[in-house]
């Protein structure tokens, strides 16, 4: 029988849904983020400075809460990998789309993380969240002791557990589905990034052409030379417009669908980790059952106790997990929809603006004297 989780009032004194990261300051290697949150009571804001290590501190605290039943059933909002001011190529590659655009997408991803944590009914009760968002001092930057949540390093035996057959059809289906989606989404995000990088290269090439054309402009009174020079200047402006267009297209891609695919990908991974934890608990439970059955009378009572405890834990996890999965399904569809709509609207706007620009150029050419 599941214990009811008491309705405890949130320890959070700020709104969760509109937390903003308003600025990022680069100091050598370190990046510092300015986080603004709105007070629940009346008007007023909290402004705090945090580094990525502070985010990790928060995450560790969330992982290691002791008094929350079924915590392992929570799909933890994913934290983006650490970025540094002078990131190596390897780190940039790992960050994918988040490494582009002068950290703007990265800030957005961190922002989303905080919003998800602060609005999560279980997680936002943790004091660490309040401290993170409101304390003017940096939260203690000591490393919290490692726990089983830390990067569930998939040792070989662990990998075998991943494929362990489930006792519950609902969960088996979810695991299968998650496996497929995780792969597809990761691929889609990667291919999208390739596209964006090529678009950026095209923008650069257009810029080069535009600049090179200026070198063709020659001084002189010769009317034919002047005509050609004028032409070169005009063509240079056309390619400058093309550069701006391509740059916008790439930016739009990054800020909307790029971010969306990235978040979806990381969120699917987070669900995968939760399901894995549950599967591990299932294996533990099945082992405990076997041990209890096989146990010699001397050990039997102890084994039975372990079995019962494990059973309770497992049931709690399942309960939380079901809730989380349901929530997750709703949230991700909404998030993807938002990303798609924004993407489409922005690209539409850019296309319309470019059309006007090109039209203007064309008219200018038509009006040019021979």
């Amino acid at each position: 029988m599941m214990e009811e989780v008491k309705e405890v009032t949130s320890a959070l004194s700020v709104h969760g849904h509109n937390i903003k990261i308003t600025d990022v300051v680069k100091d050598g290697d370190a990046l510092t983020f300015v986080i603004v949150s709105q007070k629940l009571s009346g008007t007023g804001e909290y402004h705090v400075d945090r580094t990525w290590d502070d985010f990790e501190w928060l995450q560790q605290h969330l992982f290691s809460q002791e008094d929350v039943p079924g915590l392992q059933g929570v799909i933890f909002p994913p934290l983006p990998a650490k970025a540094s001011g002078n990131a190596s190529a390897k780190i940039m590659k790992q960050l994918g789309v988040l490494g582009l655009g002068e950290w703007q997408p990265y800030c957005k991803a961190l922002e989303t993380f905080l919003q998800q944590v602060a609005t999560h009914k279980i997680l936002n009760k943790n004091k660490a969240v309040e401290v993170f968002l409101t304390s003017s001092d940096a939260p203690g930057r000591q490393k919290v002791k490692k726990n089983i949540f830390n990067r569930l390093s998939q040792a070989v035996e662990e990998m075998r557990k991943e494929g362990h057959k489930d006792v519950d059809e609902f969960f088996q289906t979810e695991r299968d589905h998650n496996l497929v989606l995780t792969g597809c989404t990761k691929t889609a995000a990667e291919k999208f990034l390739d596209m964006v990088l090529t678009e950026q290269k095209i923008a650069v090439a257009c810029g080069h052409f535009s600049a090179a054309l200026h070198l063709c402009v020659e001084p002189g009174e010769d009317p034919d030379k002047k005509a050609f020079s004028r032409l070169c200047v005009q063509i240079s402006e056309v390619f400058d417009s093309m550069k701006k267009n391509m740059t916008s297209v790439a930016e739009n891609n990054v800020n909307t669908l790029g971010l969306g695919l990235d978040l979806e990908s990381r969120y699917q991974e987070a669900e995968k980790e939760m399901l894995f934890r549950r599967t591990c608990k299932l294996v533990e439970l099945e082992n405990a059952r076997r041990n209890a059955e096989k146990a010699k009378p001397v050990k039997k009572a102890a084994m039975e106790e372990v079995k019962t405890a494990t059973q309770t834990e497992f049931q709690q996890i399942c309960g939380v997990a079901r809730q989380e999965i349901k929530q997750f399904h709703g949230v991700r569809v909404k998030m993807l929809q938002q990303a798609l709509v924004q993407w489409c609207e922005k690209q539409l706007l850019t296309a319309k603006e470019s059309t006007d620009q090109f039209n203007q150029h064309l008219q200018a050419f038509r009006g040019m004297a021979q």
Partner: protein, 524 residues
């Protein structure tokens, strides 16, 4: 030397408006006479590598208005208007007009040294130059051309390594010097090379900027010999077809070259004898040829003392411009490659979205993702066209002009050689005079007769060569002027074509996004 004919031909007896719609030769039969020439009457298109519908853009009111030329040419052909200068230029430039009874008179003014007004020889070159320059520009304004060429239907002939591609060369004209108004022949690539060879050795064309045909490509052709169906072969053949067309168009646009018998034979004759010695033009490329010739000229021991800095200045300009165009070409090349990459990236992304859509169990989201995949597929198509546009409109334009500037350098070299010849003749004459003086002193009357005959012969040669030199100088100036005007026109029409293609692209893009938006919003 514009391949884009920004000229406004006087109305044909069966006048028609340019029909919309380009015929893509790769589609096969474009035999309907009018269609393949649409691009020529339209100032904004040159190569049909880009399959875009033609716009019926009107010619800007410019130098080529019909009324103006009609009246002036009547005067010209009757010789009423003529200064002595005009006859001097008769060789270098031809006034071509329709419907003029004087056309038969023009046939006599052939490209070779035909009969000319005798009064020209008495004028000194120096005095003529100031007036003649204005005359040059005035006459430029009255050119009109009534020849359109189109190259279509590339077809593989034969098998294996002896196979070749034959192109249909169609001509439409109102000039009476041709046998009929529309006709076509089949030609292969080596025929075009052969034409260039013939034109470039002709004495009478010295000083002319002779357009260069496209380069040979062993790699490209080998693939085609194997099979014409794979995309890279298709692209190669299309690129070559377009380049040949531009080349031929530039040739027929040139007033002197059009008069040449070899050009007419190329256009008209059914069985053209195969051009030999085009092997010599392989690999090295034409520019190397010209560069070698340039080097030879530079090594000449007697350096020319320019009385007129125009030539020196122009030559340096031409060299500088060639370098700049090369730089531009390199940038456009990389742009084209990036666009091709983008096509690939887009296609791969579209596939990944399709897979994602299939795996998705939320129906509305699944449908939207599948739609997204389709939009991306369409965008790939757009990127392909954009890449073709970049290539055929810009990259090829720049290549053409890099080579044309080489040809311009070539005609400067010819002038130098003419000067050389004159100088050498003068020094020979000097030697002959010294020889005569020696004979007089040695008192050998029997050899004196010979010496006197020699002197007379060389005196006339010196005169001849000096006249040649001046003539070439005039031709070069005229040609360069013409070239610069055509270049500006060419670039202008190409950029406009490019912009129009881009606008079309953007508009299609807008339609795609507008169709997708409701799908995205419908995800509940």
């Amino acid at each position: 030397m514009a391949a884009s004919s920004d000229r406004n031909p006087p109305p044909f007896p069966a006048a028609e408006d340019p029909e919309p719609g380009l015929v893509d030769p790769a589609d096969g039969d474009s035999d309907e006479g009018e269609d393949i020439f649409v691009s020529k009457t339209n100032p904004v298109s040159v190569s049909r590598g880009v399959s875009q519908p033609d716009r019926g853009a009107e010619d800007p009111p410019d130098l080529f208005s019909e009324e103006e030329e009609a009246s002036s040419t009547t005067a010209k052909s009757n010789g009423v208007h003529s200064d002595d200068d005009s006859d001097l230029f008769a060789e270098a430039h031809m006034e071509l007009n329709t419907d003029k009874p004087g056309s038969s008179a023009k046939k006599e003014l052939s490209a070779s040294s035909g009969p000319r007004s005798t009064s020209t020889s008495t004028q000194s070159p120096a005095a003529m130059q100031p007036t003649s320059l204005e005359q040059l520009e005035e006459e430029e304004a009255k050119d009109s051309f009534d020849v359109d060429v189109a190259i279509t239907n590339p077809e593989k002939v034969g098998d294996g390594m002896n196979a070749y591609v034959a192109y249909k060369v169609s001509t439409r004209t109102s000039l009476t010097m041709f046998r009929s108004k529309t006709f076509s022949v089949r030609r292969r690539f080596s025929d075009f090379l052969g034409l260039y060879e013939k034109l470039s050795v002709k004495q009478s064309l010295h000083g002319c900027i002779i357009p260069l045909p496209p380069e040979k490509s062993v790699v490209g052709m080998t693939k085609v010999k194997v099979g014409m169906d794979d995309p890279s072969s298709v692209e190669f053949v299309e690129r070559r077809r377009a380049a040949l067309e531009r080349y031929l168009q530039r040739v027929v646009c040139h007033p002197s070259l059009l008069q040449d018998a070899d050009v007419r034979e190329f256009l008209e004759r059914d069985d053209l004898p195969r051009a030999l010695n085009t092997q010599a033009l392989s690999g090295a490329g034409f520019l190397k040829m010209i560069n070698k010739a340039s080097d030879a000229v530079n090594k000449m021991t007697i350096k020319m003392n320019e009385s007129d800095t125009w030539f020196e200045d122009k030559f340096q300009e031409v060299e500088a411009e060639e370098q700049q165009l090369r730089k531009l070409h390199a940038v456009v090349d990389s742009l084209v490659n990036h666009r091709k990459d983008l096509c690939g990236n887009t296609a791969v992304f579209a596939k990944s979205m399709a897979m994602l859509g299939n795996s998705e169990d939320n129906t509305a989201l699944s449908r939207a993702l599948s739609q997204l995949a389709e939009v991306e597929d369409k965008m790939e198509q757009l990127h392909q066209e954009q890449a073709a546009s970049d290539f055929f409109i810009f990259a090829e334009l720049l290549s053409d002009y890099i080579r044309l500037l080489g040809a311009v350098r070539g005609c400067f070299d010819q002038r130098m050689r003419a000067w050389q010849r004159w100088q050498e003749a003068q020094s020979t004459l000097q030697k002959k005079r010294e020889a005569e003086a020696k004979l007089l002193w040695a008192n050998k009357p029997e050899k004196l007769q010979q010496a006197k005959e020699d002197i007379t012969e060389w005196e006339s040669r010196v005169t001849q060569y000096e006249r040649d030199f001046d003539r070439i100088g005039m031709t070069v100036r005229k040609e360069v002027l013409r070239f610069e005007k055509e270049k500006a026109k060419d670039f202008k029409s190409q950029i406009m074509k490019y912009l129009e293609a881009m606008l079309q692209s953007q508009q299609r893009l807008i339609k795609f996004w507008e169709a997708f938006l409701p799908e995205a919003k419908a995800i509940a």
